[in-house]
Symmetry: C2
Subunit: 422 residues, 2 copies
């Protein structure tokens, strides 16, 4: 994509009303547009990142047997009355509209809806197990939405639901999902700590959260430095300075962002909503359920909270809006021709290139903006580099600038970019 | 995908409460789940079709310079007050929620929002032209939502907005968009009639609708059989039997479904909302806008209205959930092995194959279900065909069954499927 045509506008000022790094940087670099507090539109750069996060999630969830569906935002009150949640618990934060005499909710979550779909389609043990997921927008009243993409009134979420005939089958899938989650966050450039959290009152088993260490986080995790113990501070009986039950090291407390969680739901919803199946002996039983959530927009916010410096964002490779930022720093026609050729060549190899072809910007402005936008690999072509048949390569996360001969450019970039290069 | 693992359930009964063919067939074949009238969840088969429609739209809109963004569902009242539409016109069908003292709308359309984004980012003629689009869910109160996917309270839409410095530039882009729309509908298997419609009160120019002839339609178009004249009956001064102004043939009236529309917006929104740019001479001017909508979910409904018979759906190739329906009609282990190999081979060639590997279904049930689901190409492997080193090929739209030798299968299928076969 040529930067002269890209719809974005960076800003020199930091948005004063924003307190979180992710909101400040994503606004400043032109990834987002703020509609209301906690309500963000995604501009082209931002949407590219979000789509990459969604792609990673789809690949990993498909790999553990997930089938994608798309449930609706509008949800009938009647379903929520079956679980007594219309006016309680999460019902408190549900936006509700009236149409004629009917009350309709805007989905803050989809357990009721998925259980309804499954009870109408699953009859026997032969229909199980079943894993269904969606990537959908959720809505929650959030009077104090202050943390950019970390806490929204309208936000993206992947929610996976699994349905099982036996507890063993559920448990084995729960462990699979836990591993898939770790892979997802790793690919998104996030080191997630798997922490035990509360059982939400309807299961003896504890649930698990995936927490990313970040200064801008809103949670606290008590953990063993060697990784033997990690609990959300809210539910931990041990605290900072206590000894790890496994290795006796002193526990520490870290500020974190919750990017995902997995829950054993047991038969809570299936029994409340009559989602039964007939087992091999003809007995009617409640379906055993699990649910597995990842905030897609929150992952984007968390990545910025973790990966930035004073100059701007430093995107993890797999979720960067582009693989390479090619920057032309010359008014010379011949130099421009060379950089256009590099642009075409790299794109021909399957790389996503943002090409700063603009004529009306100074070298300084271009480089400052490049650091702000945060594409992991920068390639500069100028009179000076061309005079040496070379381009300058710099990684956004590093300091070293390397002059690479044109002939060697493709090989060099392939070695630096993990993306699918042809 | 193996059919034994696919989440879907066909039904033998036609849903009585549905009057439209698309709702009846899409429910019966397991593509959709009804949440409320006009509110449909997409099950795996249905979501595959919707994603293909979206993919076609993205490709064609990207090709005419569209940049994808994602605006929000929640919209602040203040923006709608700038155009006086909060309580009037489309504001009448807007769902509204309250949070504290604040009123928030659920986007029935996004003109206000896009104009707000553009006025904050576009300053000079150098920032123009600009083409931004999104594929987003829209919400409209619709007390009589009876036509399946044709008329929803929650529905998918692609909306493109273009921004221009001059009328000439706008007009040239409007014609480009018109052509892109025709390509989109053609690729979706729909023959769209471009009809003139009313100017919606704020432009002298007429707007254009894309209407698909269908028994299940809700619109009427007056048209010349030779294609010289086509107007929505609502605005046509000529009627059935009148002579075509161009060729004197008698005009006819046909029932249609509107699948898209394109509107010159002029400066209506830019002037109401102060979306100005500075021209080359330094003069402040209102941006000239156009908007271009396609109902993504409606296109899916329209395709079913046009393409079905008494047995079920007949998907147009590019939007079919799968390219090939491979059906095993045998309990014999060797025959099963052969069909598994065909399944792997076809998938290896990049074809999307639904493979009916189920053991507990009769041949009759499998074939009836295949016709109902409507994948364009059916491949049957049975004891009989294997004894002749062959499989049976049948197109869903035709009657002829052809026995094709295994050796010739790949070539034969490549010749029938336009999809990107490796």
């Amino acid at each position: 994509m040529k930067q002269s045509a890209l719809f974005y506008k960076t800003s020199k000022e930091t948005p004063k009303e924003e307190t979180s790094s992710n909101a400040r940087l994503l606004l400043k670099a032109g990834f987002l547009h703020k509609e209301m507090s906690g309500v963000w539109s995604f501009l082209p750069l931002g949407l590219r990142v979000l789509r990459k996060i969604e792609k990673i999630i789809r690949e990993e969830i498909d790999a553990i047997g997930g089938q994608e569906i798309l449930m609706t935002v509008l949800q009938p009150k009647s379903l929520w009355e079956e679980t007594n949640r219309w006016n309680e618990g999460i019902g408190d934060v549900m936006y509700k509209v009236k149409e004629g005499e009917k009350e309709i909710g805007l989905g803050p979550t989809h357990e009721e809806m998925i259980t309804d779909i499954v009870r109408k389609n699953v009859k026997s043990w032969q229909d199980l197990p079943l894993k269904l997921y969606q990537i959908q927008t959720k809505f929650r009243k959030e009077p104090r939405a202050k943390s950019g993409l970390l806490r929204g009134r309208e936000f993206g979420m992947k929610d996976l639901y699994s349905f099982h005939a036996t507890e063993e089958d559920f448990k084995s899938y729960y462990e699979q999902a836990k591993k898939a989650y770790s892979r997802i966050f790793e690919r998104c450039g996030l080191k997630a700590i798997v922490t035990e959290a509360s059982g939400a009152g309807f299961t003896k088993d504890c649930t698990h959260e995936f927490q990313v260490e970040a200064e801008g986080g809103e949670d606290w995790v008590v953990r063993c430095p060697a990784g033997h113990f990690a609990k959300n501070k809210e539910v931990s009986d041990l605290k900072k300075g206590d000894k790890c039950p496994a290795c006796s090291l002193k526990l520490e407390e870290v500020k974190t962002i919750e990017v995902g969680n997995i829950f054993p739901l047991g038969k809570k919803y299936s029994e409340q909503m009559n989602a039964f199946f007939t087992d091999e002996e003809g007995k009617k039983k409640g379906i055993i359920m699990g649910c597995y959530g990842i905030g897609t927009t929150r992952v984007m916010g968390a990545a910025v909270e973790v990966w930035h410096d004073e100059k701007g964002i430093i995107w993890p490779e797999e979720i960067s809006p582009f693989n390479v930022h090619l920057i032309l720093l010359s008014g010379d026609l011949k130099v421009r021709e060379i950089s256009e050729k590099i642009y075409d060549d790299l794109q021909g190899k399957g790389l996503e290139v943002l090409y700063d072809d603009r004529e009306n910007k100074s070298p300084g402005e271009k480089l400052v903006e490049s650091d702000l936008i945060g594409i992991p690999l920068r390639l500069v072509v100028s009179d000076k580099t061309v005079s040496q048949d070379s381009a300058e390569i710099k990684e956004r996360s590093g300091k070293e600038i390397e002059l690479v001969k044109f002939d060697d450019l493709a090989r060099k970039i392939s070695s630096l970019v993990k993306a699918n290069v042809r």
